[in-house]
């Protein structure tokens, strides 16, 4: 025991150094977020919020709210209200206020998009196999016959008792708006829990609320429609609120005889909308972004652009084979690198 003091000193020094290093490592790796991912609506749903007391419970509640809504709006769920409307076609169905308003909203965008956005497209989706059956190209005759059972203008609304009558043979599919509507309910739940900085992503439909915990803007990329699913390097959205949705022919499709058939069917013709590859929409709420991305894709290059420029608070980016168009107000929220 020649230098016991020095040895103890050295050990203390190493222990303190290790402590400092581990502490600083935790500081560097410390995440500002609490996040959770679950699977429903046939996709993954991620909720990311500022890490603070109560964040975990708030995210769980929000997930639960979204799951409940996804069951209510799924036409293949025998307990859902949409299933009930479809199975009661020809009869009056009484609705709750929020479901009635949701169908009213679908009606509004049906008119605004000149019939391109139509939740009564279900029989056509089924015919093409985008429901539960096998995907295939139907005969022209079949398409023409099914088209007679499509058209939301035939849905009868009765505001007095908040009921609807769907004509016999018709059915509804909320695929073009449900995800957005459900994200909005999830965000509402988070805000009700006092969460001010939040992000919800359900299958590529994104809504953010407030800035990020470090006070910077949320950076949202957009997937390129072809190739290895890369992100547009020169088009990044920087958001402190609002929602982004993208519709592309690469999402759900099948290829027959070398031709791509996507799930984006024009309800007015019964065939795929083919003018565009992808459409990204920014709107204040997720349901608007969801509806409009589908609408613009189906409306096409010219009509789509005119609609966007006539709507306030809505911006869009559209891409077809050889060119890209960005609406006039997008420069305020998008970073063009």
């Amino acid at each position: 025991m020649v230098f016991p003091g020095k040895k103890v000193g050295l050990i203390v020094f190493i222990v303190v150094l290790t402590g400092i290093v581990l502490f600083s490592r935790n500081q560097v790796f410390k995440s500002d977020f609490y996040q959770k991912t679950e699977y429903f609506m046939d996709t993954s749903v991620t909720v990311k919020v500022k890490k603070e007391p109560g964040a975990e419970e708030a995210v769980s509640r929000s997930m639960e709210v979204m799951k409940q809504w996804s069951l209510k709006l799924d036409r293949f769920n025998s307990e859902s209200i949409i299933n009930k409307i479809n199975n009661s076609a020809g009869e009056r169905v009484l609705l709750t206020e929020n479901i009635y308003n949701l169908l009213k909203m679908a009606g509004k965008y049906y008119n605004l998009s000149s019939g391109a956005f139509d939740i009564s497209v279900a029989p056509l989706m089924d015919l093409w196999g985008f429901g539960r059956e096998e995907k295939h190209v139907p005969a022209e005759q079949e398409i023409n016959s099914v088209r007679e059972r499509v058209g939301l203008s035939k849905l009868e609304f009765n505001t007095a008792d908040m009921s609807v009558i769907l004509p016999a043979g018709m059915s509804l599919d909320l695929g073009g708006m449900a995800k957005g509507f459900i994200i909005d309910r999830g965000m509402e739940s988070l805000q009700g829990s006092g969460i001010n900085s939040a992000y919800i992503n359900a299958g590529g439909n994104i809504r953010v609320s407030g800035k990020k915990p470090d006070n910077s803007l949320w950076q949202i990329g957009v997937r390129k429609p072809r190739g290895q699913a890369e992100v547009y390097q020169d088009f990044i959205l920087a958001l402190a609120g609002g929602s982004v949705a993208t519709s592309g022919d690469y999402e759900r499709y099948f290829i027959q005889d070398g031709i791509r058939y996507s799930h984006l069917i024009d309800p007015r013709t019964g065939y795929q909308a083919r003018e565009m590859l992808t459409v990204t929409v920014y709107a204040p709420t997720a349901v608007e972004a969801d509806i409009l991305s589908t609408s613009l894709f189906i409306m096409g290059w010219q009509a789509g652009q005119e609609l966007v420029e006539n709507l306030t608070g809505v911006e869009a980016m559209m891409a077809r084979e050889d060119e890209r168009w960005v609406s006039s107000g997008f420069h305020k929220i998008a970073v063009f690198r």
Binding site: V2, L10, W218, G221, A229
Partner: protein, 140 residues
């Protein structure tokens, strides 16, 4: 100093050297990620799967933004591990039945450079290499 060195046993020296190596690693590792995280390489991150220390698969994070999860099977030392990647995140979904504790299944999802999933019995590791962390999300 000479007399101090003489006083330390071999194990003391091994301990000191290992602690220094660990410290240097933890100082440099975060700095490396702070540095690479600022690069303008949006959407270019990779999920790296190592089998017995060797890189077996390198998948662009951008490819995981899709409707259905990307499932990758890796044949390890004791059986097949199933790895699941979606929406910029990756996890070890199923460890082989031969793995008694399946600790790596319990690690859960990782979505950024830094943490890793390590399956000791099957000698498989999963990490995310920097690039993608400039973005908070991708719309598709």
């Amino acid at each position: 100093m000479q007399r101090l060195l003489k006083y330390l046993t071999l194990y003391d020296k091994i301990l000191i050297v290992s602690l220094i190596i660990v410290n240097v690693f933890f100082i440099l590792f975060p700095l490396y990620h702070v540095y690479t995280g600022n690069q303008d390489e949006v959407g270019k991150g990779y999920i790296v799967i190592r089998n017995n220390g060797k890189v077996e698969k390198k998948i662009p994070v951008a490819r995981t933004f899709r409707e259905d999860p990307l499932l990758i099977e890796v044949e390890g030392r004791i059986g097949t591990s199933i790895i699941e990647a979606i929406n910029g995140e990756v996890r070890l979904k199923e460890a082989p039945p031969e793995d008694p504790q399946k600790i790596c299944e319990k690690t859960g999802w990782i979505s950024r450079p830094g943490p890793s999933i390590i399956c000791v019995p099957n000698q498989i590791s999963i990490t995310i290499e920097a690039g993608e962390d400039g973005l908070d999300g991708v719309s598709w």
